[in-house]
Amino acid sequence: MSDQDLHRTLGLTDHEYKLITEQMGREPNEVELNMYSVMWSEHCSYKHSRSALKLFPTTSPRVIQGPGENAGVVDIGDGWAAVFKIESHNHPSAIEPHQGAATGVGGILRDIYTMGAQPVAFLNSLRFGNLETARGRYLFDGVVGGIGGYGNCVGIPTVAGEVFFEPCYEGNPLVNAMCVGIMPADQLVLGKASGEGNLVVLVGALTGRDGIHGVTFASEELSEESEEKRPAVQVGDPFMGKLLMDATLETIGKKLVTGVQDFGGAGLTCALTETASRAGTGIEVDLDQVPLREEDMHPFEILTSESQERMLLIVEPDKLKAVEEVFGRWDLKPAVIGKVTSGETVTARYRGEVVASVPAASVAGGAPVYNPESREPAYFRELANYDPLNMPLPEDYGEVLLKLLAAPDIASKEWVWRRYDYMVRTCTLQGPGGDSAVIRIRETGKALAMSVDGNGRHTYLDPYRGGMMAVAEATRNLSCSGADPIGITDCLNFGNPEKPEIYWQFSQAVEGMAEACRVLNVPVVGGNVSFYNEVQGEAIYPTPVVGAVGLLKDPAKQCVPALRRDGDHLFLLGPQEVSLGGSQYLKSWCGKVSGSLAEVDLEAERDVQDLIRDLINADLVQSAHDLSDGGLAVALAESCLSGRIGAQVNLAPSDYLPLALFGEGPSRVLFSVAPEDADRVSQLIMEAKVESSKIGIVKGDALIISHGDDIILKLELSAMQAAYEEVFSCIME
């Protein structure tokens, strides 16, 4: 095969090949071309997304490390920092759901402790097709099992997540895994190969042929052929993962390492070229020193294998012994595979011969940046023009609410999270099931709140507003628990960016997210882009997922959605402008995904979040719940169910009750207040000039909603509970 054909087979364009020869000053050999091919894949090079991502605000007085490293780092006071990142493992999970999800969790875990942080929590965001097919149930069950299997075993609690079901994810489920860690701020280590003469050390699992060209696979649409091209499936080894984590953190804590880099996509090639290029150094490796699991591996296979549970350490020669001792306590044997050199070249030897010699910066960062063509898709205006208010009125609103509560998108996900150990490490103050999870920080007495959110249906109907709403909702969830949002990480799941309609969705969503981040004052400190989520040319809904982290200075003030006491007053905070466009009501009751989204007023959003946090911090709030899917009625039902107490609510006069009950819009919070505090709260709301109304009281064991003099909905807690809690057991068992 001529090089011409080879580069195409490897997924590089002629233009890219030409760039490579220019940057190298010669033609690459086969091994080198393989290295370029994995690093210049979309997954590693971000060539179609880099220019749009520049829109994100990435700094704040708290940000210690923004995007560009393995994870973002944010100051949380008292000399401590939070470290977090989200990442997709969509395509591997479509092939082998259990292992795909498990290795996704393992990968994001490594990104966190690579920085020197002790991981303290996992979150995840999942999308599947429907559960009526055996394949759908298999994927769902497998992914949940894989996430739990890995997280439970490494002993990091899985504390929050979200799951949605839409036909568009049928063949291409989404599995986004997030990890949050904490560390003393001065313990930060970066993925840099600095210090000429320092040793390059590989530790962890043996290197096999698994996942070779995994990144290329992730950078293509799924098709029949991709079955054929598929690399050997990677299997996670959480046991090894845990040993590696503990030992690596110990070497970092003891200041035995100069640089640390995990092995993710593109394996050794990525680790070597990235660490060298970040430090402006070179590396010489001897591939014969890489401990192998399989015989007769070709040098390019060693260089691109994506075997899991491996770490690269940069170690000063006189510290090697101490490093070996730390790993030795867990029966792990670090292998010295090379050393840091001056110059900026990564050179690999194999059986005594140089098999590759590449400019590090070119491989790691020389890929072209594309500005793809963008075109508004035809569906956009068409769907936006649809008016959901023409739908016939339901006869029985109670029936509608029960149906929504039983919709898999909304129903209790306990079936999922009871398979996750969400308590290990005994720091979980709030586990799954609330608006955000809360993890205490023993060392500082404070706590971190965290949430992960994204609504593909919304982003499909309006990527710009959908993007804003994802950021708004994730941060609002934190605010509802009383925490200050301090940063977000995002995972952008889209179709093929080379299609102008998809790129339009992408750039619109990024613009919306960036705008929301600016107004709400939260920096983006890291994230991940997953393109080519398509099966046979059909893309998923554009699905940006936002993972937000907040700081709760006084964990005792933590607020949850559960209503507390008979007689408490119920307030609805925020603008009343809502829409049925893209709502759960329209989807589950009318069977439609259509309409336009409610206006997003980011200033109002910010004011609502500021106010609810202030009220919580002033000890004036008994419960708080963010309104999202299913609107007011569903938020009320959820608050009643988690508090095991009823409520009586009076709707504001409305011409179209489905809108009042089930309409969705941003910036709204349902909260309850003790009667003796009600006046004070009303006063503070007025002073803050935030829209709000008192809508009812906490009472009894039913949810009763009236409109004027008519009771339009009355449901016993037990009836709502049955609808809400039994769905998954029924479908899955």
């Binding site: 002993g155 398979r419 150990d421 969400y422």
Partner: protein
């Protein structure tokens, strides 16, 4: 009074036991590495929860051959107190220090949830602060917790009062619904014949602070402490 928490490769609740003993109970506690050949001068040894050796092959099967386990067996032989929690329980059964075996949960899933267990033997150093029949709320988090013992063994255990905890409902009634994993006769925890080695699947160390949902787990630790305090008093007289 000194607690020791054994750290096997893959233990992950070692931290939780350690934290509870040190920060909540204010007692001295140290980790013991699995490669140690002695457990040193300690009064209580805790085998914590987790996934020793990834739970590969069978939960606890590989860990029980760790060097430290010989020392634990000797320590137990001499009457030292040994508490196995979750995976620690599995290790102790595999090692033969406790009777029976822990099999896959009957529903085949890992399950993390709050359960109730009843104290069915309160004459042990681990339970003497509880009244007989006391119902404790504690979490479970395991995939292999279904207790099994062959019929003859079970009879023998009953005759020796070796069944320490049973899963019950809130009122202390043994019901099938209260059984989270299919354990034989709702057995949640057992002891050896001498009563100085106890294992249980629920996590008392996760139920030691109000902010975590329950403080019922403290009864077990407080029993141990008052038992040892009593012994120290006798020794010092």
């Amino acid at each position: 009074m000194k607690f020791g928490v054994i750290v096997f490769p893959g233990s992950n609740c070692d931290l939780d036991s350690y934290h509870l003993v040190r920060d909540v109970l204010n007692k001295e506690v140290e980790y013991i590495h699995y490669s140690e050949k002695s457990v040193g001068r300690r009064d209580v040894i805790i085998l914590p929860g987790g996934f020793t050796y990834g739970d590969y092959l069978r939960s606890g099967a590989i860990a029980r051959f760790s060097p430290v386990m010989n020392a634990v067996a000797e320590f137990a032989d001499k009457g030292g107190l040994v508490l196995g929690i979750c995976n620690g329980f599995q290790v102790l059964t595999e090692a033969g220090l406790l009777p029976g075996a822990l099999c896959r949960n009957h529903h085949l899933q890992f399950r993390c949830e709050q359960v109730f267990v009843r104290v069915d033997n309160n004459s042990l150093p681990f339970t003497l602060s509880a009244s007989l029949g006391k119902v404790l709320e504690m979490p479970v988090a395991h995939g292999d917790g279904s207790y099994y013992a062959p019929p003859e063994l079970l009879e023998e255990m009953k005759a020796n009062d070796q069944i320490v905890f049973r899963y019950t409902d809130q009122n202390g009634d043994v019901t099938p619904q209260a059984n989270p994993n299919g354990s034989l006769e709702n057995i949640a925890g057992v002891c050896n014949r001498a009563g100085n080695v106890v294992g249980l699947m629920p996590h008392p160390e996760r139920a030691g602070e109000k902010v975590l949902g329950s403080r019922h787990g403290l009864i077990i630790f407080k029993s141990i402490i008052s038992y040892l305090t009593g012994r120290e008093v006798v020794r010092n007289v």
